[in-house]
Symmetry: C2
Subunit: 314 residues, 2 copies
DNA sequence: TTGTACGCGTTATCAG
DNA sequence: CTGATAACGCGTACAA
């Protein structure tokens, strides 16, 4: 292991100067700086994150707290996780994954996904900065990043209207969380604005449950109906049910929400609202550091986009 | 932050004694031990991983190296990643994710997935222990953990034979890697042992490509055929194609391989070979530490199991 | 069985 | 602008 002292020796300066070249380059003369950089290149010095952490009282570890059942976790969470790790890595941070809330001196901050209302109190009590993935409950002041759920479903609903579906229904998730409420509101708002009569169903987030729902209400479903779905999983089941008489996209239109994986492997491929996970991960990390470095609680809604594919008319 | 010294003060002993209670409890008297433990509980001491790392010249960081395109990474990799993080966490280790091979002083070991033959040389040259996820190429001596691919496909093939399908074909992946070769061999072996005529096709690992293949060869496909598929993605496409005339599982049987996610959301739900990712993750980590602590290169094949669902006869 | 002194690699402080 | 020194929290070697 080559360390600061080695570089210092090579460049004929003190350790402090080397450290400064790395951390406060503006406080050191140009000649010395270039000499030190050359020495660093020459002997292949890599700063030791551990020693740095010790003096700075930091850990360079961010915890990703998954409060949902890890076995049934959606692929989107997994993709978020990969992106997150990548962004953190760029900043020299490392990732710790946990499934339980616990106050831990060995981490610098927490990013939480899959939380429920009942977790919020415990999360607020934590001694390190926390950023929620998913909009914060109204009466709590916590940093969060979320996709703009309402806007996303508005896009979906408008798209169905514009492609000429007459009746438009919504199939949501039976959970009472901000994100699902927002999605429903996106539908209701758009319908109201366009003087359409709205109709909402709710199911658990499984394709087979959604399929069964459509099977059951199929007789009441007039042709030329559009179905806005709260998730791609639901959309998948809906398409299956509707296609038992080969109706998508001509007689029936379907739009999902998530835009990760399921939409691509399905047949026909789903028209969907895509969540930009790279952006979300970046924003999550940015807001964590905003809090870490400046104590500011930020929040951001990331704008999703419509991906037109084969379950709505061209 | 409460540290060793605080505990020592509370327990009226020296720091060293506290350290010993934690690391070499057998070298300290019972009374002192209990007193120290009480003090630790009382003031809520948590050992500082950073300071420990500094003296031990360790990082408590394991790198997970993903050499496949991170955007198209399969959900199974993601699930493996989650499990991995969990196992490491239990050992006080943290995760770093990388997509490029690089010699890095800030990690203690590397777990690699999605590697190709051409990566092996660079991986062997690394200065930290490496464990491959996926069987090592024959002429290289590297630690690896893999699901027993050959055995898995044997299970699949036998199952199709036992449930009475007459002709049995195999659809593999067009990549030349040990795991895909092993899967193909599992099919060929079983067919030979049962004096059956084998027939192998290869496609890219996408459901739509597999669907198209079946569409194309449908006329040559006699009824009562079983299809062994190298992945769930392929199986999904095969089922879709075959079901255009409603043939699964009566006229045609299909078995996939992976057992994560896709098999559950598909309709009908896929009969598949399940990879036990929790076990795989545990084994990957175990073998990494075997190398770290004892310099031993281990290898293990994890036994997968058949999940009977709705694409083969009962 | 228990304690003292020192060092791990880095950075902040303060002096030059 | 640059350098010497101390300190971060812990574990090892050695001493008592």
């Amino acid at each position: 292991m080559v360390n600061l002292a080695d570089v210092a020796r090579q460049a004929h300066v003190s350790k402090m100067t080397v450290s400064r070249v790395l951390n406060h380059p503006e406080k050191v003369s140009v000649e010395v700086k270039t000499a030190v950089m050359a020495a660093i290149d020459l002997i292949g010095y890599q700063p030791n994150r551990i020693a740095k952490a010790l003096v700075n009282h930091q850990n360079y570890v961010i915890q990703f707290l998954v409060l949902e059942d890890i076995d049934t976790v959606e692929p989107n969470y997994a993709i978020l996780l990969l992106q997150l790790a990548d962004v953190l890595n760029q900043k020299g941070y490392t990732l710790e994954i946990s499934t339980i809330i616990t106050d831990n001196d060995n981490i610098d901050g927490i990013i939480v996904s899959g939380w429920r209302q009942s977790d919020i109190i415990a999360l607020e009590a934590l001694s390190v900065p926390v950023v929620l993935y998913g909009e914060s409950p109204i009466d709590h002041d916590m940093a969060y990043v979320d996709v703009d759920n309402r806007y996303g479903v508005k896009l979906a609903t408008k798209h169905l209207i514009q492609t000429g579906y007459q009746k438009i229904i919504y199939i949501g998730m039976s959970v009472d969380l901000p994100f699902s409420n927002e999605r429903e509101l996106g539908y209701l708002d758009t319908m109201a604005n366009n003087r359409r009569v709205s109709k909402v169903y709710n199911v658990d987030n499984h394709s087979h449950v959604a399929e069964k729902l459509i099977d059951n209400i199929m007789t009441q479903l007039s042709e030329n109906t559009g179905v806005v779905c709260a998730t791609d999983r639901i959309a998948l089941g809906v398409v299956r049910a509707l296609n038992k008489q080969n109706g998508v996209p001509e007689q029936y239109g379907v739009v999902g929400f998530d835009g990760v994986f399921i939409d691509q492997i399905s047949s026909p491929q789903l028209t969907t609202i895509r969540q930009p996970f790279a952006q979300i991960a970046q924003s999550l990390v940015d807001h964590l550091f905003l809090q870490l470095e400046h104590g500011e609680l930020g929040m951001q809604r990331i704008v999703p986009s419509l991906i037109r594919r084969d379950t709505t008319r061209a």
